[in-house]
């Protein structure tokens, strides 16, 4: 049971992802509800009082709960897809279980409560920095979508490549807006119905090989299912390429109160928290 743990001081990080402002808890309403292919929904929430989320770091998230009774008890975490104006935030939701099903069934006008902004996100794309390979799997798209659009806004569309995988063509959404802003998008589907057949790791490995051959410095930013992230991490560690992984964990609060979202890590303490220390972690730090 008992482990030796050093007295907790704020742990030092090799790459500490940037943090958003202090979180607020506020009432909002569902203002737009768009069903995409593959069981995805784009939901927009608007609110009169609450934080301006426009400047939010890609990877930051919002906890969402409908104004329902006892079940599901907790809110659910969603990466911020966009915050186009003050008082408005957009998420991409895939129906997975009870909570997401109930959120997807809400009608425009429905009251929800939000806690945001939460988490530490990906570092910003810089002009002189390494080329960035964004690896998105399934519902891991939103933070990287935002990251890519931010890069494009900063005139750095050419510095990022999105490698985006899913089960089939229907499972890949919101690709056009990315291409429209000049971002290169490589698709991979398990059934080959769009892009290359297979997993994202194959095109990723190709790009890493090419970069190694050309001696171009690259960096991976990945978000997706745990299996994919484990594979990406192995690739990155084996090739000594820096990688930032946006993780998921079961979350009860999202703001550091429950200690439920432990992520096993190497470092001064055995666990860090997906919600307050992440969700973006350095691949080397994650104890998988």
């Amino acid at each position: 049971m008992k482990r030796a743990v050093p007295t907790p001081a704020e742990p030092t990080h090799r790459s500490r992802p940037p943090r958003c402002g202090p979180p607020a808890f506020f009432a909002a309403r569902l203002s737009a509800h768009r069903e995409l292919t593959g069981g995805y929904f784009e939901l927009s929430f608007t609110y009169d009082e609450g934080p301006d989320l426009r400047g939010v770091v890609p990877g930051a998230f919002v906890m969402v709960r409908g104004s329902w009774d006892a079940d599901p008890t907790g809110p659910r975490a969603f990466s911020i897809l966009d915050a186009p104006e003050p008082g408005r935030v957009t998420i991409l939701l895939k129906v997975y279980g009870r909570g997401t099903a109930r959120l997807a069934a809400l009608r425009p006008g429905a009251a929800v409560s939000l806690t945001a902004p939460l988490g530490r996100g990906f570092s910003a794309t810089t002009a002189g920095g390494p080329r960035r390979l964004l690896v998105a799997g399934g519902v891991g798209l939103p933070p990287l979508h935002l990251l890519a659009r931010r890069a494009a806004q900063a005139g750095l569309a050419g510095a990022v490549t999105m490698i985006y995988g899913g089960r089939d063509a229907d499972d890949l959404v919101l690709v056009e807006p990315l291409r429209a802003c000049g971002v290169e998008v490589v698709l991979a589907t398990e059934d080959g119905s769009a892009g290359v057949r297979g997993r994202v790791t194959a095109p990723l490995a190709e790009r890493l090989d090419a970069a190694a051959a050309a001696r171009t410095p690259v960096e991976i930013c990945a978000c997706g299912p745990e299996g994919m992230l484990r594979a990406v991490r192995s690739l990155a560690l084996a090739r000594r390429v820096p990688a930032q992984l946006c993780l998921e964990a079961n979350m009860a609060c999202g703001f550091g109160a429950c200690l439920g979202c432990a992520v096993p890590v190497y470092g001064p303490r055995p666990y860090r928290y997906c919600c307050t220390d992440g969700p973006v972690f350095d691949a080397r730090e994650v104890r998988w």
Partner: protein, 322 residues
């Protein structure tokens, strides 16, 4: 009854005056800091801290939580900064708030409990209550929780009370089959009151991966699902030991929930799981409680503590109506 007047929400717990009965529960409010961005914490009647042990604890492997129908399972593993870091880094923040500070604590064995109580006594100027969590597995006694057997709980509580002048409130486990016996034992050992209840042990299964949902297999069930069980234990203990102060908790998320606990016999309440979904829930519960008092013509909330009446008997049965 003057419905227009502001109801008097003050209560007293074991001789300690409280402006109102709404506190927040251990493990669900950390050491207070994560909630500071959300509201003025001085509005709380009190804060029960995350459980403190003599040494820091890293907690359990992930995943540690899982949601269940109207509830959640957790196996945080009593992760905490340890008593020294608590006194040094966490207590000052709490002390500055001016709310009642209930320091939840435990040990990994008998001596650990005693050592923790002794160490916490050094913070006595800023600590109002030591809330002693006896739901830890007693390694010496085959892993059964300290709080399951009255005699074991009695000895442990007595030893801890001897270490400190701070009142000790013992937090009991709903897993025990007879909470009245345990409450009576800890009362006799010097406890100033009891906190009822901690989580109920539960589990969930991932049928796809053929393994438990929590890395530790079992976890503690909390939230609205357990409210009926918590209320029953509060009522049983209050009925059997009407003079023993009770702090009630388990699934509270509305003013009406809080009033249910008060009427069943709790002098004050704690909100746990509901803080996660709604960090400002305590304020809402307080507002609702106040409005409910007005609505129900309750001038002094303290008067309704334990006020439940049994149902009047039905008219006696006869074959032919009278």
């Amino acid at each position: 009854m003057n419905a227009a007047a502001r109801p008097d929400l003050s209560v007293s717990f074991a001789g300690m005056a409280m402006p109102h009965p709404v506190m927040v529960a251990s493990g669900c409010f950390a050491y207070g800091e994560p909630f500071a961005p959300f509201f003025d914490l001085s509005k709380l009647a009190g804060i029960a801290t995350k459980g403190i042990s003599p040494e820091p604890r890293a907690g359990n492997p992930a995943p540690r939580i899982w949601e269940t129908p109207a509830g959640m399972l957790n196996s945080i593993g009593l992760e905490n900064v340890g008593v020294e870091a608590f006194l040094r880094d966490k207590l000052p923040f709490l002390a500055d708030l001016g709310v009642r500070v209930w320091v939840n604590f435990f040990g990994e064995d008998f001596d650990g409990y005693v050592a923790c109580a002794r160490a916490l006594d050094r913070g006595r100027a800023h600590i109002d209550v030591l809330e002693m969590n006896v739901s830890c597995p007693n390694i010496e006694k085959g892993g059964i929780e300290f709080g399951m057997v009255p005699e074991v709980a009695h000895d442990l509580v007595r030893a801890c009370c001897a270490q400190t002048a701070i009142p000790i409130v013992v937090k009991l486990s709903p897993n025990a089959s007879d909470n009245v016996a345990i409450a009576d034992a800890v009362r006799a050992a010097g406890a100033a009151g009891v906190s009822l209840v901690n989580t109920i042990t539960g589990m969930a299964v991932d049928v796809r991966r053929r393994r438990p949902r929590l890395a530790t297999t079992y976890g503690g069930l909390s939230g609205p699902a357990i409210k009926p069980v918590a209320l029953r234990i509060v009522h049983q203990v209050h009925r059997a030991l009407p003079d023993l102060p009770i702090c009630g908790m388990g699934g509270i998320r509305s003013g009406e929930d809080a009033l249910e606990f008060l009427m069943a016999g709790a002098s004050c309440v704690q909100i746990g799981t509901a803080n996660f979904a709604e960090p400002t829930v305590a304020l809402r519960v307080l507002d609702e409680l106040s409005a409910l008092c007005v609505d129900l013509g309750i001038d002094r909330l303290a008067e309704v503590v334990g006020c439940l009446e049994p149902w009047p008997p039905e008219p006696p049965w006869e074959e032919t109506p009278p």
